[in-house]
């Protein structure tokens, strides 16, 4: 007959807590997939800080829809303009969120959208310029209600 003592119960409890907390991690992008997504999108160019501003609320009550604005300093002329703006989320299942493709006809380099955040994380925005340079900004967002990965 198998004796179940306090220690066994405790061990079992710890194991199940571990399983529960570890489970969502499988659906989260790893740092490797994040940098892979970035270099894939940017063609290997390493972005420098500056020229781009990511406006997003530092506290999001609902991770299902978090509004943001990206503004890039650029004259937006035929010779010197923003070609693309990329958004990345390191802690979402997929690091890619969206890619915007604009050009001199935009007049101003500013785009807006609403994104999902699976958990609190640092959101990254990268601008790709017509001269081949890339500029990045990021912002920490605390999410109180995560975007649902499970039913609900």
């Amino acid at each position: 007959m198998k004796v179940i003592d306090r220690r066994h119960i405790l061990a079992g409890a710890v194991a199940s807590i571990g399983a529960v907390t570890l489970l969502p991690l499988r659906a989260i992008a790893t740092p490797e997939s994040m940098s892979a997504a970035m270099s894939n999108a940017l063609g290997g160019v390493t972005p420098k800080p500056g020229r781009i501003k990511l406006d997003i609320s530092p506290l999001a009550e609902n991770g299902n829809s978090v509004p943001l604005t990206v503004t890039v300093e650029s004259p937006m002329t035929a010779a010197d303009h923003v070609k693309s703006i990329y958004l990345f989320s390191p802690e979402n299942p997929l690091p890619d969120i969206a890619r915007f493709h604009i050009g001199p006809r935009a007049g101003r380099a500013q785009v807006k959208t609403s994104i999902r955040l699976a958990t609190s994380q640092r959101v990254h925005a990268v601008a790709m310029m017509s001269d081949g340079s890339a500029w990045a900004d990021s912002a920490e967002v605390i999410v109180t209600l995560s975007a649902c990965i499970d039913a609900g």
Partner: protein, 106 residues
């Protein structure tokens, strides 16, 4: 059936920068959720929004599951000529929803 909303001025002065806001109804199902029976809900997202102004593309957006349901996008364009703006949202199956708006440039 999708419905789309476009918010933009009807008229603009030549050379003026106008902002255009777009929204389309779509669940943007991520493919990571499960239903009450534990069955995976298949991914169903819009992957592309393109905007043509008088026949020329002025804005394109690639979307991934990280874009919120009922995708919202806003951008700017220079009012160059009187013409039609054509907004096309395409989902993963290749189904497209098209919305048109007229801009009169004075």
């Amino acid at each position: 059936m999708r419905t789309a909303r476009i918010v933009m001025p009807k008229t603009a002065k030549k050379g003026e920068i106008i902002e255009i806001k777009t929204l389309v109804t779509h669940p943007m199902e991520t493919g990571y959720r499960r239903d009450d029976m534990g069955k995976a809900i298949p991914r169903d997202i819009i992957t592309l929004l393109t905007v043509q102004y008088a026949g020329e593309e002025v804005f394109r957006m690639d979307m991934f599951p990280g874009v919120a349901a009922n995708p919202f996008a806003a951008f700017t364009t220079i009012a160059t000529e009187t013409g039609e703006l054509v907004f096309t949202w395409t989902d993963e199956k290749g189904d497209a929803h098209v919305e048109k708006a007229m801009l009169t440039v004075t």
